[in-house]
Structure formats: C-alpha cells, structure tokens
C-alpha cells in the first residue's frame, strides 16, 4: 500500500513548480522537503512549531490578507492534533485559504509510528477518510489526490478555486526521514516574512 502512494518530495516539487505569489506555510516533514527547494519571500517555514497549529496560523493570515492566496502544507498527524481547526476554518470561510494534508499515515520524524487514524493502529484495520472529515467539518471544495499525475493535473485548480479548499494528498513516508530544521532564527524570519506579506499588496 505504501509503495502506491506519492513520494512526498515529488508531491511538494509539483506544488513548488505551480506556485507563483501564494503564501506557502510548511511544517514538520513538509518543511523538511520544502527547504530543499528554491526559497521564496512568501514561504513561511513553520519550524519550530506548535504541532498542529499550521492550519490555524494559515487561517489568521488568510483573514488578515484576503487578497493573498494562503496555502498550508499540513501533515496528517498535525491535522489530527487540531481537528477543531477544520471547523474554525469553515466558520470563517476565507475564500483564499487552501489546506493541504500530506497524509503518510505516520509520525515520520519520531520513527514512523502509526497515527491513530492509520489502518495499522485501528481495531477495524481501516484508515480514516480525511476527505469525509473535511466535508463533515464544512469544507465544500474537497479533493483527494492519489498520484503525482493527478496532482500535476489538479494543482492549478486547488490554487485558484474559491476556498476554503481542502486537499487530501496520499503520500509515502520517507524512511528515516529527519526532523525539519529551522532555516534561521524564528523572530527574525517572522519579521521578514511579515514585511513581505504586508508589502506589494496584490490587486483584489
């Protein structure tokens, strides 16, 4: 099953290639892979993080900057830690927010233990369905991405349609994947990112 899932690095390369002036928030394993790619002033590498809070951070940015597209690259473990944020997001319903869940079914950087939503940790052996979770929490634009080809074909749609948008990307864990490293001191990066976010406002 794992070998049928998208390679995480490739899935992020596809997003990176499609991205223009969107804000991209990465965290945990997505941050590790994203920092291997050429940086952009509107990248926010959320490392160090409070695990699970990337979705909420993105919500705040989306509300403050309604003319900017905000893309959150969340993990499945992170999503489970803050499931309520799915409801908070749809309550505010920012049209410019895209929440992508890169689901590898494990806590990768702690050694690959299965999350409580993964089939290997569930009594009935069936993984939970993040798309159904998202719909139940009020998302109306919900996409399930199961291959690089499909992601290549749909990434532009997810980055452009009226949100909030939820994308469930089924990816494979990176064996022995290391923890993400912060690309620099948090306070300094926050200030420079804020300056980039607040400057050169895009047209409505």
């Amino acid at each position: 099953m794992t070998s049928d899932r998208m390679p995480t690095p490739e899935s992020l390369r596809i997003l990176h290639a499609a991205r223009s002036d969107e804000v991209v928030i990465t965290t945990m394993s997505t941050a590790r892979e994203w920092t291997e790619l050429p940086p952009h002033p509107l990248d926010f590498v959320y490392v160090p993080s409070s695990m699970g809070q990337a979705s909420s951070l993105g919500l705040g940015m989306a509300l403050a900057q309604p003319n900017r597209r905000i893309v959150v690259c969340n993990g499945d473990g992170c999503t489970l830690m803050n499931l309520g944020s799915l409801v908070s997001i749809t309550a505010a319903a920012p049209k410019n927010l895209v929440l992508l869940v890169f689901d590898n079914e494990v806590y990768e950087i702690t050694g690959g233990q299965g999350t409580a939503a993964a089939q290997q940790r569930r009594a009935d052996g069936a993984s939970l369905n993040y798309a159904e979770m998202a719909r139940a929490c009020g998302f109306q634009k919900v996409h399930v991405i199961e291959s690089c080809q499909q992601w290549q074909e749909q990434v532009e749609l997810l980055l452009s349609e009226e949100g909030p948008v939820f994308g469930w990307l089924k990816v494979a864990p990176v064996p022995g994947g290391a923890g993400p490293r912060s690309p620099g001191p948090g306070p300094e990066r926050a200030r420079s990112f804020a300056a980039a976010l607040q400057g050169n406002q895009p047209k409505p």
């Binding site: 926010f44 160090p48 993080s49 409070s50 695990m51 699970g52 809070q53 990337a54 909420s56 951070l57 993105g58 919500l59 705040g60 940015m61 989306a62 509300l63 403050a64 900057q65 900017r68 803050n82 309520g84 944020s85 409801v87 908070s88 309550a91 505010a92 948090g186 306070p187 926050a190 990112f193 804020a194 976010l197 607040q198």
Partner: protein, 173 residues
C-alpha cells in the same frame, strides 16, 4: 432559551464598554472561546463595525490564529478563560517565545470573585502560577478601579513590541 444578560455586579466590564475600548485601541480581530463572563460580550462584539469576531474550537488555535493575523498586519486580541490558558500552553509558548510575536491576551480568571460558586476550583490554585511560568508580563484587574490597567498595558506592550496579558477576575464559572 434567552441569552444571558449582564446584571451581576461581578462583571467588571460591561459589553458595550469593552467593545468601545477595543475599538479605541485599534483591535481589528477578537479571537476567542467564550466563557460565561466573557461570552456576554458577544452581541456587542458582533455588532462592532471595526472588529471581526473569530471563533475557534480550542484555545490553542486562538494563539496561532492571532499570530497569523499579526503577521498579516492585523491587530488581534485573544480572549479566553484561564482554563484555556492551561490548555493552550504549547501554542502560547511557540508564538510568544519561539517567534516573539507581540500578541496580547485578555484572560478570564474563573471563580476569583465568588469562589463559592465552584468550591475547590483549582483554577484559583493554578492560574497565576501558570501565567508566571509562561513568562508573560501581565496585569491583574480584580476591581472596577483597576479597569484602566488593560488599555495602559496593551498600549505599552504594543509600543515596546512585546507580548502581554491582562488577567480579568470573574465572578462566575
């Protein structure tokens, strides 16, 4: 079921009063999980043309949402109860200390003014020590005579680009 009305003398701020104050100091967004004291402000908050009320499901979200709002140029205020302070510790740690964002919180101090309403409420044991442990400068309002402290401290923190909290004594659970 009708809405709660603010008739208890243990409410230090009246609803329209606090919202007017928030407008005066430039708050653009209130990010909250209401309690039975702070929740009485809802109608006034929703009615404010200057303030957007953002509801979250758990208090940890509030700090992260406020962080995103701040980074985007808005002026957020986190409003939660002390129980939410306890719950949201890791989120608070991250945005106030890892990123040193100058966020501000107004935190309701449950049972402080009428501890008989919840005998043995452990909030009375833990609220002040936990706030101190998180190393956030704070002001404590436990009477109407101290109401000025919130605005003064908020503006001082904003001017000095640092985080802060006002602890607001409450008279009910």
């Amino acid at each position: 079921m009708g809405k709660l009305v603010q008739t208890d003398e243990h409410h230090i701020y009246q609803d329209k009063e606090i919202v007017s104050l928030l407008e005066e100091i430039g708050i653009t967004h209130v990010v909250w999980v209401p309690d039975s004291t702070l929740g009485l402000w809802e109608t006034a908050l929703v009615s404010s043309p200057a303030i957007e009320l953002v509801s979250v499901c758990r208090e940890g979200e509030a700090w992260a949402v406020a962080a995103g709002l701040h980074l985007g140029g808005s002026k957020p205020l986190v409003i939660i109860q002390c129980t939410g302070l306890f719950e949201s510790g890791d989120a608070l740690r991250n945005v106030l200390h890892d990123y040193q964002l100058p966020l501000y919180g107004l935190i309701g101090y449950r049972s402080y003014l009428n501890s008989e309403s919840l005998p043995g409420d452990s909030c009375l044991l833990f609220t002040e020590p936990v706030l101190k442990a998180w190393n956030v400068e704070s002001r404590f309002i436990d009477s109407v005579e101290k109401k000025h402290l919130f605005k003064e401290h908020y503006l001082q923190c904003q001017q000095e680009d640092r985080a802060g909290v006002t602890l607001l004594a409450e008279g009910r659970a």
